[in-house]
């Protein structure tokens, strides 16, 4: 009851819905960057939405199954293959004992989610099976997969009779970033510290995802630097206007070191620090960030608290729609 890792892919980790509740000691939530895709993959193979699955970045792994299983791949458009035969994405398909699951080249998106019926059976650490590689915590030995790893599949896995091959998530419920990608943002706590003109330009500019884009945060470049309002820095904040007295960062918060390149903190976020924040990307759009490739044109779209809450409810409705379609 295991999966042999023949090739690991570029950066493949075990992820579930993460481990909230330890941020105050510096341990981030981790979990799937695109949680909606993770949930969809799990529901397709008959798992609970939050079961542990694999997150593969830019390049898929090559995996040999030692037992029958139902598999689904969602998120990035990276065609799955069983013994070389291409399978549809967002659709459940069987993999027999001895068969090899591999992937074609990435066509769109950034992260594919590979769910296996029963889930990946790594130990639960602080309430979650998610991998936090920087802290070497959770997942498979706290790290990304390597060739030769043997991933345990949960007992009772193997193709379930209740789940039939070929069922898929309806096209209209598959969420993807547009072109340019649009990230809705609530202007934040320190918004008053940049000039009005700089604030307008921030939302008018088309930014590009920088190469430094990972699970900790996504950096954006190519927009204009922020101009700061003249002010006296409070004690403890240092003299650079982009510095603040060290504060906690919520997930999704947009910090701008030096006022030049915004960084959106993601699932493996650092929990606090002293760089200025312009706002917070709404939780409904955090999934989309996980699907952005470097150089993707991106705009930040200003929203109100009411719009952010409505978006959160819409996202929940999409998830419920997927669950209902697969019930």
């Amino acid at each position: 009851m295991a999966i042999n890792v023949i090739k690991p892919g570029l950066s493949t980790t075990v992820q579930d819905l993460g481990r909230p509740g330890y941020y105050h000691i510096g341990i981030p939530t981790s979990g799937a960057m695109d949680m909606l895709s993770l949930a969809a993959a799990n529901l397709l193979v008959g798992n609970p939405a939050g079961a542990a699955a694999l997150e593969a970045v830019f390049m898929g792994p090559e995996l040999e199954f030692t037992a029958d299983a139902m598999v689904a791949v969602t998120g990035a458009d990276m065609p799955p293959k069983v013994d070389g035969q291409e399978q549809a994405g967002w659709t459940a398909f069987p993999v027999k004992k001895g068969q090899v699951l591999s992937f074609g080249f990435l066509k769109a998106g950034a992260r594919a989610y590979i769910a296996v019926s029963g889930g990946i059976d790594v130990p639960v650490v602080l309430g979650s099976r998610s991998t936090y590689t920087l802290g070497a915590l959770g997942g498979f030995e706290g790290r990304k997969l390597q060739a030769g790893d043997v991933l345990p599949m949960a007992a009772g896995s193997g193709a379930r009779s209740s789940v039939s091959a070929g069922r898929s998530v309806p096209e209209e419920l598959r969420r993807r970033p547009g072109a340019p990608a649009e990230l809705r943002m609530l202007p934040g706590l320190y918004w008053h510290r940049i000039t009005e003109a700089a604030g307008e330009r921030f939302f008018e500019d088309t930014w590009k995802v920088a190469p430094e884009a990972d699970r900790i945060g996504y950096r954006f470049k190519a927009g204009q630097p922020l101009e700061f309002v003249d002010r006296e820095q409070p004690f403890g904040a240092g003299s650079d206007p982009s510095n603040i007295v060290d504060a906690c960062y919520p997930y999704g918060s947009v910090q701008v070191p030096g006022g030049t390149e915004p960084i959106v903190l993601h699932r493996d976020a650092v929990s606090g620090g002293g760089y200025f924040m312009v706002g917070t990307v709404i939780s409904a759009d955090m999934d989309l960030i996980g699907q952005l490739q470097p150089h993707t044109p991106t705009r930040f779209v200003k929203v109100t608290m009411e719009e952010a809450l409505a978006a959160r409810r819409d996202r929940k409705a999409v998830l419920e729609g997927i669950a209902a379609a697969l019930a």
């Binding site: 909230p20 509740g21 941020y23 105050h24 000691i25 510096g26 341990i27 939530t29 920087l134 802290g135 915590l137 609530l186 934040g188 706590l189 409070p234 004690f235 403890g236 904040a237 240092g238 003299s239 650079d240 510095n243 007295v245 060290d246 504060a247 906690c248 960062y249 919520p250 997930y251 999704g252 918060s253 070191p257 030096g258 030049t260 650092v270 929990s271 606090g272 620090g273 002293g274 760089y275 924040m277 917070t280 709404i282 939780s283 608290m305 952010a308 809450l309 959160r312 409810r313 929940k316």
Partner: protein
């Protein structure tokens, strides 16, 4: 002390007790932190104390900003007193060679020589203000004014675990190889992240810390023994 409650995300509120990092402000932050850990508000997911503010992350589909704000105000009006002084820890630090890669830059920017920077750093009395940034990153207050510098304009990647770093009035001993925009003045062989189940970290918030200078030979032998 009455905090200013700022909705910083549709899922989070920041309770701000002031702008300047003073002792009274920080004690108020810690008092509210204790109250919320003892008795969480409905829908509460994370509580993260900072220097001057406290972040409360909640599920907006279970509760809302208004209800969380009311609950925070109720907790504030029934706060307990201070916990009292923490324990004293002595941490070894080697300032030599590559361990103190920014020592010279700090000396130049603060108008003194490297020995004076080391002496000033050793003279500091430090307190654990908060955990943040990454596992085991204990923020220490109390860097002498002669060493106060802003952070670097952008973080530098790959700074090794154990680095002793400073920025403004703050000092920190890193526990992981991570990016930092702070100034690297030395390295400690002591492990802040102990990994022990019930007490994964060496320090508690409010504990006090003093630094003791060691040479490279002692660093190597302590590291081998750690």
């Amino acid at each position: 002390m009455v905090p200013h409650l700022v909705p910083v995300a549709e899922r989070a509120v920041l309770a701000e007790f002031g702008e300047a990092a003073t002792e009274a402000v920080h004690q108020a932050v810690l008092a509210l932190d204790r109250a919320l850990r003892d008795r969480p508000v409905e829908g509460q997911l994370e509580v993260v104390p900072g220097m001057v503010n406290l972040l409360v992350v909640f599920d907006p589909l279970v509760t809302d900003h208004g209800a969380v704000a009311d609950a925070l105000r109720a907790r504030m009006s029934a706060l307990s007193g201070s916990r009292g002084a923490g324990r004293l820890h002595e941490i070894a630090v080697c300032y030599e060679g590559a361990f103190g890669r920014d020592l010279q830059a700090v000396a130049e920017r603060t108008g003194q020589d490297a020995e004076a920077v080391i002496a000033a750093h050793l003279a500091g009395e430090y307190r654990v203000y908060m955990y943040g940034f990454a596992p085991g990153y204990a923020y220490l207050s109390g860097v002498p004014e002669a060493l106060h510098l802003p952070r670097k304009p952008a973080p530098v990647r790959g700074v090794p675990a154990g680095s002793v770093i400073i920025a403004g009035a703050q000092c920190l001993v890193t526990t992981l190889t991570m990016p930092t925009g702070w100034w690297v003045i030395g390295r400690s062989p002591d492990r802040i992240l102990t990994g022990e189940g019930a007490r994964p970290f060496l320090f508690d918030v409010d504990d006090r810390v003093r630094f003791r200078r060691i040479g490279e030979a002692e660093f190597r032998s302590r590291e081998a023994g750690a």
